[in-house]
């Protein structure tokens, strides 16, 4: 791997993005504990912030992102509007999709966050089409698809890897291995400890990275994105990380060994990076505090925006199924 010495502005940005995501999702978790406050399922990525911040920060604006049910970090790192995002997660009419996506199906086409699918393993197939369109149009953009170790068991992921390999599509597969598929541990649901090696079966370069090290993710992301952009074909990254919360907020995680959670808490990507930045003198305590306060203020404002927004009304209940709806 090419080790880039990252410039301090970028380092600050990576840290800020991770903090914003953590603050945003902790707020959602808090709201979930207030009865009736958060409709639907809330699925959070606490502990996985470095994968989202590192990978998305390595992309160009023309690059397309396909996400999954654990999407908030990807969207925030891409710069999605915090207010509209929180309102959508609260399923409100002023949300980024008018209250018709909720947390699970967010999309922001303006930012090339093309689609989110919560059908586990579907993302790589959608990404095939996006990457094909980029190749067809001669665009310099690539497509990045995020999926988990659980999704890696879906046949769809393999169909996508095969076809992307045959057509040399500019498609970067990013497997966030968070060690859990629902309540099943990696060793219970996955026949290999090294998911990235499956890429070899399709002649796709597969690499693994410490998913709790934001700079390592960024550097490998940059390298693999450049590979895809060069026309050589798809690439595969496995980011090793850990799901600190349950599958969703309703999940009490009683199947998880508390000691294991403690071990991974000690490897918190945000705390680790903070120590590094303080040690390198990139940021001082006052600047760190200001980043956290700013995130808290922005998240509070987003919740206030969401609270003030009404739920979608009857006028959009039947709309948007077709561009050209049947006349009857």
């Amino acid at each position: 791997m090419i080790e880039h010495r990252l410039d301090p502005d970028l380092q600050t940005r990576l840290y800020t993005r991770m903090v914003l995501t953590r603050t945003f999702e902790e707020k959602i978790a808090e709201l979930c504990r207030e009865p009736g406050r958060m409709p639907g399922m809330q699925i959070l990525a606490n502990g996985q912030e470095a994968v989202a911040a590192g990978m998305v920060s390595a992309l160009e604006p023309e690059d397309v992102i396909i996400s999954n049910h654990r999407s908030h970090g990807h969207l925030l790192a891409r710069g999605a509007d915090l207010n509209a995002l929180m309102a959508e997660i609260m399923v409100k009419g002023q949300g980024v999709n008018g209250g018709k996506a909720g947390t699970l199906h967010l999309s922001v086409p303006d930012l090339n966050i093309l689609m989110t699918s919560t059908v586990v393993g579907a993302g790589p197939l959608l990404a095939l089409g996006a990457a094909f369109a980029q190749q067809y149009k001669g665009s310099s953009g690539i497509t990045v698809v995020f999926f988990g170790d659980g999704a890696a068991a879906e046949g769809s992921v393999h169909e996508a890897m095969n076809l992307a390999g045959v057509w040399k599509l500019p498609l970067l597969f990013v497997c966030e291995n968070n060690c859990w598929a629902g309540a099943q541990r990696l060793e219970e649901h996955c026949a290999t400890r090294h998911i990235f090696q499956r890429a070899n079966g399709y002649d796709i370069p597969g690499r693994s990275v410490d998913g709790n090290d934001v700079e390592a993710v960024y550097n490998l992301g940059l390298e693999l994105a450049a590979y895809c952009r060069s026309g050589k074909g798809p690439a595969f990254m496995e980011a090793l990380t850990y799901r600190m919360r349950g599958h969703g907020e309703q999940d009490p995680q009683d199947y998880v060994d508390p000691k294991e959670l403690e071990r991974w808490a000690a490897k918190c990507p945000i705390r680790g990076y903070r120590q590094k930045l303080l040690k390198e003198g990139v940021l001082d305590d006052v600047q760190i505090q200001s980043i956290h306060e700013d995130a808290a203020t922005r998240v509070e404002a987003a919740v206030a925006f969401g609270d003030a927004s009404p739920y979608p009304g009857p006028e959009t209940f039947l709309s948007d199924v077709f561009v050209q709806p049947p006349s009857v």
Binding site: P124, A133, Q134, S156, L163
Partner: protein, 327 residues
């Protein structure tokens, strides 16, 4: 206007679409190089004419083919993909049902999916139930998907062109039993509007609604019905979603009777929706019970004897029409 087979008419539609819009591309198993070197194949000669960039042979991966269409259409292309046989659509169904049909609604109208899926259907070529299984009711039951089923070469061309340039996902069913049938096909870029049924013959005693190859079973029955002095109005739906409700209701209000004929299984088939719609919206006009003609609730068999029993015949149509008259 010239005589063309069904397959040639479809081929003409694909050729025109590829010629007039750079965003149109074709993908599927054997759409470029095929095991069938048959000029009646809808994709015959397209690879030679338009090249490998626009005519893409794929691996045997129906889910990937459908995913390709969903992702590429969301990026502004107009992909036309082929799923070889209707039962194989189950392999592509997550992409079509959960994605092509739902993502626009969930995006709040910011995304659209102008894709076309061509699929071969029909009963009567002896390949059995994993190649023959008409699943149009499944598709029609899934929000966000349109589905058309041409019964003439002219409509095959016109509906396929309309589907390709429609802004929404459209499934175009190509009836294998009509593949070699010839008919007049207008030249040039002709479009058969989606959601517009065709009155094939006018009549006064009973309305028969049908689509696809079943139309010809109905037409065979008309002679025998005519001999009995019964005059039937035959409607070829052409498009199931959107559905031309008005054409059906207007006709039933005139004749007072309805028979629905399709080759799919009758139980929970598309005809059930038509019967229910007429019962709800034109009950006052009905002079007798609504009758449905369809296949029994069994997998499509392989033996020629069984296959013939499976498929509704003209005599079934006659019995149904007589049934609406209490005869």
């Amino acid at each position: 206007m010239s005589q063309k087979t069904f397959g040639q008419a479809l081929n003409e539609a694909l050729t025109i679409a590829l010629e007039i819009d750079e965003n149109v591309c074709i993908a599927g198993e054997g759409v470029g190089v095929s095991i069938h070197r048959d000029p009646n194949m809808p994709t015959h000669g397209l690879l030679e004419k338009f090249g490998r960039r626009r005519v893409k042979d794929t691996p045997v991966s129906e889910a990937a083919i459908a995913g390709l269409a969903v992702g590429a259409s969301c990026m502004g292309l107009r992909p036309v993909v082929e799923i070889m046989f209707f039962p194989f659509i189950t392999l592509a169904s997550d992409m079509l049902v959960n994605h092509a049909g739902k993502l626009r609604y969930m995006s709040g109208g910011t995304s659209s999916f102008p894709l076309t899926v061509r699929v071969k259907a029909g009963v009567g070529f002896g390949a059995g139930c994993q190649h023959s299984h008409n699943l149009e009711a499944w598709v029609a039951h899934s929000p966000g998907l349109k589905i058309v089923w041409p019964s003439t070469p002219a409509d095959a061309k016109g509906l396929l062109l309309s589907a390709i340039f429609d802004p929404d996902p459209v499934i175009v069913v190509e009836d294998l039993m009509l593949g070699r049938m010839s008919g007049d096909v207008p030249a040039g870029d002709i479009r058969t509007p989606l959601g517009q049924a065709r009155i094939v013959s006018t009549g006064t005693d009973c309305t028969i609604v049908t689509y696809g190859a079943a139309l010809y079973t109905v037409m065979e029955a008309l002679t025998s019905l005519g001999d009995r002095g019964i005059s039937c109005e035959v409607i070829d739906l052409r498009s199931l979603v959107p559905l031309d409700k008005e054409a059906i209701l207007t006709s039933v209000r005139k004749t007072g009777r309805l028979v629905v004929v399709h080759e799919a299984i009758r139980f929970c088939g598309f005809g059930a929706e038509l019967a229910a719609m007429v019962a709800e919206e034109a009950f006052d006009a009905l002079k007798g019970p609504v009758k449905r003609v369809g296949a029994p609730q069994i997998p499509v068999p392989v033996a020629p004897t069984h296959e013939k029993m499976f498929k509704p015949g003209p005599e079934d149509v006659v019995t149904a029409v007589l049934g609406t008259m209490g005869k």
